[in-house]
Amino acid sequence: MSELPAPQEETLEGSGKSQTPGQLAWGQLRRNRVAMAAGIVVCLLYLMAIFGEFISPYPVADIRPALYHHPPTPIVWHDAAGHFSLQPYALGMKKDAKDEYVPDPTVRAPIRLFNTGFAYKLLWIVPLRIHLFGTSGDFPFFPLGTDHLGRDVFSRLVVGSQVSLSIGLVAIAITFSIGLLVGGAAGFYGGRVDNVLMRLCEVLQSIPSFYLLIALAGILPTKIPPAVTFLMIIGILSFVGWAGLARVIRGITLSVREREYVEAARALGVSDFKIIVRHLLPSTFTIAIVNATLAIPGFILAEAGLSFLGLGIRDPVPSWGNMLNEARDLEVLTRATWILAPGFLIFITVIAFNTLGDGLRDALDPKLRR
């Protein structure tokens, strides 16, 4: 037997510790400024949703019939005497001869930070009365005007984001779970299981999804609490949405199943379950994460669409979709353009998620790594 030759010395890339795949992807993502900006926008949007009641100056259901379609309150940086001040003031508004609101410089109130207002619970736990900003007493201050019932659009927008943004997240979590389970099972077991599951996906996908959504939403009873509606909408969205993801996951599982490291793991006595959890699913994660990020805006839009048609979240609980409901009327829209604000936020959210998803795809794909 010959002597064992010494293996050639090889140097590891770099000098320090090895980077995990996660660290590599994060480093790549951080260098992508557009994606990082989109990520920050997404984070800000969710912060807004979490601290909704703290940010909004009025309760969302407060009706002021006299002040319907009140335009956004002007903010000025000078006091009654016309001197510049660091303290911003909200100007009062009055109706002129043509029944239109015009600023009334004689009436003003200081806008205060950490103003005391209506009682709420911060993060659904801590009882508080402090709000980010507001005016004292009954002085009307509507940063984005009011709707047809005189409700503060800004407050409704901020609190409505809780519904609109969380629906995307929860729906994707459910879709993801079903998609991973069904796709993973189809890919791993193959054969008849694969056939049955995939045909099921195709049946679901062959139905135009929005009509399916409308049909499902139409059979929901109308007199149920908003929380239940919320859950049902999520259920409906997930029911329609999982098929596409399942097909993607199945494809990846099929290819990874044949890799030699799966065979090697089997030869070491690793169980099927552990192989699925440790080797198959993680390799689908990169694509699944990107898919999920790109799918969230779809759910947000679908919720908005349902609520817009009156089949989703119902008044007085605000969501971006049902707030837009009012903007159907062109005459109203020309008089009170500010009621389009939720549409603008939907636009921002969708763009931010799509940009972030693109950035994630670039960061997670080793072939695109520089």
Binding site: S2, P7, L12, G191, E260, R266, A267, L268, R278, S283
Partner: protein, 340 residues
Amino acid sequence: MESATPASLLEVRGLRTHFYTDEGIAPAVDGIDLEILPGQTLGLVGESGCGKSVTGLSLLRLVAHPGRIVGGEIRMRGQNLLDLPMNEMRKLRGEQIAMIFQEPMTSLDPLYAVRDPLLETLRLHRKMSKSEARAKAVQLLTSVGITDAERRVDSYPHELSGGMRQRVMIASAIACDPALLIADEPTTALDVTVQAQILALLRKLQAENGMAILLITHNLGIVAENCHHVAVMYAGKIVEKASMRSIFQNPRHPYTQGLLRAVPRLDHPVKQPLPTIPGSVPNLLHLPTGCRFRSRCVWAQQKCAEEEPPLMEVEGGHTSACWVQPGFTQPVPVKEGVTA
């Protein structure tokens, strides 16, 4: 037969593994007998597609759909592995019988560090704690010749060369001191110097641990250097079985003889083409009657088409499945009338 002594570690009797394809049933392994003695190396030789790898996978019962083991026995220390329930079989994998594969480049999951397959086996079969397993992993990597193992254990596969990865695969295969290591073309994907290192490593580990090795290869040079016994496989059948010395000095099956002639030699006349075996392995879905090699065999006779030759003892412990049993030194007749 010498090999049938009760001392053998693993005995395969009449193993049949068939693939149920849309076009028909392909008998990839069609009734083979093998004996592997403890501490020795059995070489399983043959060209591509003759069922070597499927045999290796069958021993671990890892044949994937649409393949299925349809008959025979695989006895390890008297216990028939085909009778074991699947969870018992799984415990045996990695612990009693381990396997290394052809492609070290893809045999490690790119998502996990080198330590992972090692820790996985050690914790699974030896119930070690994380820190114990890690210490053992470092020790194993050192024993397979990886320098600076303390640091490399945290490297990722993409940071290692093919030879290094194959060393890691070997380390995880021998982690639990298996009695048998199945090495399925362990060096095919590596360059020649690394090949020699890996084979030397396997010999060293065998000398230290006394494990048996089933070395699956198509390279007769590797067989000559590493094996104690050799089994030659052709179209799902074992056609010749003997000790290493006997196979090289006195090959009796025309297929084995053809393989040996096809090995490039330094004393081969310049500018003369290397001898080859005409034709290719028959389609397993449409096997010829009689001897499976006859369409490529220069010695083929009427009897070869009528009856399939069984393994016949030529001399002590040397068996060959051929009606003709030509001597290696006999001149090869020019083949006529038989189309490949």
